[in-house]
């Protein structure tokens, strides 16, 4: 059984590399093309904010929930951001039920970092009573259909959900009106995978499976780099990293527009 899997793996790899030599990909895209992005905001009424993002056939639902809790002792005047990913078994035959595995945790942390380091949300605004009471902001990422590149689809859905979030003041604090959470910045990630020595923007499922190395670069609306994550066993040259950053800036700009206009 294992030998069979390895053989298929090698066949896919040589097929993908053969196509790539001619600048092509299995699904007809060019090497630097992202799959179509579509964003549907406000998908779930029970969430304070929500969005469903599709990146090709990858389908992700993000819900934002807000609760009142205690701040961390080292940041008594700031709300708390908690990002969580559920790789539910409905999304892929390879996902199993149970506690989050390293892949889900890495994914959650990369999305979290992009949002946190860009100061997407003004966390000081989420302080209710210094040292005592602050808003806990939960970003729950729920993968519905996995067809490659969860990093970017999760980032898009999370950002779109935040732009759609209402702080539940009336129900959680008892008086006052709900106000929009508001987003200060728009961090957008673009992931590039490397197979052999070829770079693939927005890896498909097939490309995800056989990638040697992966780099996720999150940029803000000024084009500044705000978070990065390199993954898998392969490596990148400095030139490749520089090229990926510029690809991320270029593609990210288009995606940011899509999220803003959704």
């Amino acid at each position: 059984m294992l030998e069979m899997t390895e053989a298929v793996h090698e066949l896919t790899r040589s097929h993908i590399l053969r196509l790539a030599a001619a600048g092509k990909r299995g699904d007809g895209r060019g090497l630097e093309d992202q799959r179509p992005v579509s964003i549907q905001k406000g998908f779930v009424e029970t969430a304070e904010g929500s969005a469903r993002a599709k990146l090709g056939n990858t389908d992700i639902l993000v819900g934002v929930k807000m609760e009142i809790g205690q701040p961390y002792p080292d940041s008594p005047d700031r709300g708390v951001l908690i990002t969580n990913v559920e790789l539910t078994p409905v999304a892929s035959p390879d996902f199993e039920s149970g506690p989050p595995r390293p892949a889900a945790i890495e994914l959650a942390r990369v999305v979290d970092r992009g949002i946190r380091e860009t100061e997407t949300v003004d966390m000081e605004k989420l302080c209710i009573e210094s040292g005592e009471k602050v808003w806990l902001l939960f970003i729950d990422i729920h993968v519905l259909d996995y067809h490659g590149n969860l990093f970017d689809a999760s980032n898009y859905a999370a950002l779109a959900a935040l732009t759609n979030t209402l702080v539940p003041i009336s129900s959680k604090l008892g008086d006052g009106k709900d106000i929009p959470l508001g987003v200060l910045h728009y961090p957008v990630s673009v992931t590039v995978s490397k197979i052999g020595d070829i770079l693939f923007v927005d890896p498909s499922l097939e490309e995800d499976r056989i990638a040697d190395a992966r780099l996720t670069v999150t940029t803000d609306e000024d084009g500044h780099v705000r978070a990065m994550q390199k993954g898998l066993e392969g490596s990148f040259t400095l030139d490749e990293v520089i090229r990926i950053i510029s690809l991320s800036q270029k593609t990210g700009k288009k995606v940011r527009k899509t999220i803003l206009e959704a």
């Binding site: 998908f43 779930v44 009424e45 029970t46 969430a47 929500s50 056939n57 389908d59 639902l61 819900g63 934002v64 929930k65 609760e67 969580n84 559920e86 539910t88 078994p89 409905v90 999304a91 892929s92 035959p93 039920s97 506690p99 939960f138 729950d140 729920h142 519905l144 259909d145 996995y146 067809h147 129900s171």
Partner: protein, 249 residues
Amino acid sequence: MVKKLKLIDSKGLRMDGRKPDELRPIKIEAGVLKRADGSAYLEWGKNKVMAGVYGPRECHPRHMQNPAKAIVRCRYNMVSFSVDDRKRPGPDRRSTEISKVAGEAFSSVVFGEQFPRTSIDVFIEILQADAGTRCAGITAASVALADAGIPMRDLVAACAFGKVQGKMVLDLDKEEDNYGEADVPLAIIPRTEEIVLLQMDGSLTTKELQQGLKTGIDACKQIYQIQKEALKRRYAVILEEEETTEGDA
């Protein structure tokens, strides 16, 4: 602050304007997920449900394999943001129980003998909850099973009935469920009217229960029509696609 909700008005209508034996609007779309072998998305009132099916596939762990037939496993899961107060992700006792009885309901219709030692895995994701999620989940998952091409005696259709302020009503919404006197989820095999899931809490007389079951079975048959329509639409689309491809060739 205690306010007495008037769940049924003087004309016998419910808060959302429904008659006692009226279902909330139901929409089903089959084949919405690409990765799963079969899938269905369902909206039932304010409930939003995604169901996906994988299998028959190799059964893990191996000790669960049945040498005589496929096992049907179900996982009912409420997503953390599907309810007003965030639910901690992962299974709790309630969802584990629902998963068990729903899986058993599906086992009663699936021809598992054709696929010994395999598993058929049914996943129900409650994306937005407004009472009646297990019935909504079972109704969606049964369409997903058919969409996956699993041989079955029939679909399973589910609906709840209950008692609200002294009146027997069909398909309780969240307020009715919270303040009602009884809630009875029911799932049947519509063709034979066999009952494959039945739970209850609250208090009902035998007569009320009989009346409720009758209304519930009728409602399941209405839902059955919606399930079949969804599957027909799905296959009409596939046929059209095939015809277009053939035309191109």
